[in-house]
């Protein structure tokens, strides 16, 4: 059984159909990428799956559970993590605290009455926070305020928060946007580590085609809300509809 599956997923905004009857399945342990031109509905698809938007029609199944109608925090608690396109961090908190909040969510669930216990007494949370800090290589900046981080580090912290929620399936929305070549390289390496060492399933939205074709097991192509192609990187590269819709009719590709 697929880890994540959508059936006939449709989202309309007024008269506009942002998602049109999307059927797709993501298997456990694979890395799938979603590509498509601007306005293809990529963000809408992620938002609909993770509970930010409710679909007009269709179903979303995660490990057999229907996600439709669930709130974002409930979906996150099931093990669906998310890193945002724009660095959606907590600017006034330190880097460590940013990760810690997510660690508490992962360790303690969506709500727990513990306002009379000091947070430094929760060892498991502290350990997880430190582990993430090391993995993302932010431990030297752990006590800095998140807002004073350089741009690339903010993006990495964004990914770190997603990781700290301890997901089985992680949605990464353009994780390398605006990064320097070195930072991009580090992020690509991190994605590889997440798959192999952390055993995660990754759903990547990315504009950098080199990265997409390099790391993906399979690629979905979205165009005007419809899934027009799916397959291995080789299949997608040669797919006529993709070349037509996305790679500019093949002339530039």
């Amino acid at each position: 059984m697929a880890l994540l599956e959508t059936r006939g997923l449709t989202k309309e905004f007024g008269g506009l159909t942002a998602l049109d009857d999307v059927d797709m399945a993501v298997e456990e342990g694979e890395l799938v990428s979603l590509i498509g031109p601007n306005g293809a509905g990529k963000s809408t698809l992620i938002n609909t799956i993770t509970g930010q938007l409710s679909p007009t029609a269709g179903d979303v199944y995660y490990a057999g559970t229907d996600l439709v109608g669930m709130k974002p925090f409930e979906i996150a608690q099931l093990g669906v993590g998310r890193s945002f396109q724009t660095a959606s961090i907590l600017p006034e908190l330190t880097v460590r605290e940013n990760i810690q909040v997510a660690s508490f969510a992962a360790e303690h669930g969506s709500f727990r009455i513990n306002f009379l216990r000091r947070r430094d007494s929760f060892d498991a949370v502290q350990e997880q926070t430190n582990e993430i800090l090391q993995t993302i290589d932010l431990d030297s900046k752990a006590d800095m305020d998140a807002r004073s981080l350089p741009y690339g580090d903010k993006r990495r912290l964004e990914v770190a928060i997603g990781l700290a929620t301890d997901p089985d399936l992680l949605f990464m929305d353009e994780p390398t946007a605006g990064m320097s070549p070195t930072e991009t390289e580090m992020t690509v390496k991190l994605i590889g580590d997440l798959l192999t060492e952390w055993g995660m399933t990754i759903f990547l939205v990315e504009h950098d085609m080199d990265i997409v074709f390099d790391v993906s097991d399979r690629i979905f192509t979205l165009h005007q809300g419809r899934l027009i192609a799916r397959g291995t990187p080789e299949e997608i590269r040669e797919h006529p509809a993709v070349r037509e819709a996305y790679l500019g009719g093949g002339e530039e590709a």
């Binding site: 930010q52 925090f73 996150a76 600017p91 006034e92 508490f104 709500f111 513990n114 929620t165």
Partner: protein, 380 residues
């Protein structure tokens, strides 16, 4: 606040090591609670009776007690606004309701100061549950305005339709009875205790003040302290981390209501009175001013803000000529402080003491501040 300055005068150019030690100590719970005990021990004396200092303040014991109670109010309000980022323009509802509940319980059921204060607190929590169900669906300005509407609704309800119960604008009088049946709250001490604390009522209020400081310090150091801030910074992100934002906001709201209710109950015991003016909208406004003036999101800020507010209202008000303009003077001070220091008086003080350790830093910071202020000063 004063500890910082004292230490500065002792070892102005001390080694880095001792500053690090100090930075560690000043954030420990024990230090914060001990400071609040010391504050309670010295506050009334310094404010009303100490040589020289009190001549500057021109305060008096009764006002010191009022300030302690309102400080509890401001601390409870700050938990919601400063920590969680929810701006309620209706917090008078908890203060006034708790006062009424305390008075009604004392008159009709059982009159004992401790029980009465706790009854006030529970009434505020009950009101908190109901109002949170309405308010937590709303965001930003809608939250603020509907909170104000609920408080005003209760004000008019208490004033006219419920006049049989609340005695309308005349209010309710509570006879003073001994605490736990044995401790006379009016009893005045002699000697050192008398000099510092004057009477049992002050000690009674002071104990609650310290307890509230300890509670809030613990909340700030608990997972809640972090999660509240996370909600304040980015609610959507917090939800996507897997946290039930609604329930945490609900918790913040009830904790805030409980602390404010405690202040309302104490006010009823302190003044032996409960009246409709404690529900009035201007009370909700005053508490916003006190908290923001002192420093949002900090522990000392609301207490300082409350002190400054009552200094203007209670002392400057009595000055010849100048007294007529106390509200104007307060407004001007408020505007000046918040304009230059968005983190309030406490932010100003911490900036200043930090700069004293490093005068060069002060110079660059001051230059930066002036540069920031001149072209687009009013943007905060």
């Amino acid at each position: 606040m004063s500890m910082d300055t004292i230490r500065n005068s002792f070892d102005g150019d001390s080694s880095v090591l001792s500053w690090e030690t100090w930075n560690r100590i000043k954030h420990t719970e024990r230090f914060v609670v001990l400071s609040s005990v010391l504050f309670v021990l010295l506050f009334s004396y310094a404010f009303g009776r100490a040589p020289v200092v009190s001549d500057v303040f021109q305060g008096y014991h009764g006002l010191a007690m009022t300030i302690l109670i309102w400080s509890i109010f401001a601390l409870g309000f700050n938990l919601l606004l400063g920590q969680t980022g929810l701006l309620s323009f209706g917090h008078a509802m908890f203060f006034g309701t708790a006062s009424y509940a305390a008075a009604l319980f004392a008159i009709h059921v059982y009159n004992e100061p401790l029980v009465v204060v706790l009854v006030g607190m529970l009434a505020a929590v009950a009101l908190g549950v109901v109002s949170a169900l309405l308010l937590l669906r709303l965001h930003t300005v809608y939250f603020s305005i509907v909170a104000l509407a609920i408080a005003q609704f209760l004000y008019f309800l208490a004033r006219e339709p419920l006049v049989e119960i609340t005695k309308g604008i005349n209010g309710l009088d509570i006879p003073r009875v001994p605490l736990l049946g044995i401790v006379d709250l009016n009893h005045e001490y002699s000697g050192l205790v008398g000099t510092l604390l004057v009477n049992n009522l002050y000690i009674f209020i002071g104990i609650f003040f310290v307890a509230v400081v300890a509670l809030i310090t613990r909340i700030r150091k608990s997972p809640y302290g972090l999660i509240f801030k996370s909600i304040r910074e980015n609610e959507t992100r917090t939800a996507f981390m897997g946290l039930d934002v609604w329930r945490y906001k609900f918790a913040a709201f009830l904790l805030s209501a409980a602390i404010v209710g405690l202040a309302g109950g104490l006010m009823a015991v302190n003044t032996q009175f409960a009246g409709v003016e404690r529900l009035y909208w201007s009370v909700s406004g005053d508490i916003v001013v006190m908290t923001v003036l002192g420093g949002l999101g900090t522990l000392a800020g609301p207490v300082i803000g409350t002190f400054v507010f009552f200094y203007f209202k209670g002392i400057v008000n009595g000055f010849p000529t100048l007294g007529n303009y106390w509200l104007l003077l307060l407004s001007l001070s408020f505007t000046a402080v918040v304009w230059a220091y968005p983190d309030g008086i406490w932010g100003m003080l911490t900036d200043f003491t930090a700069a004293l350790r490093d005068p060069k830093e002060l110079l660059t910071k001051t230059r930066q501040r002036i540069a920031d202020l001149v072209p687009n000063g009013g943007d905060r």
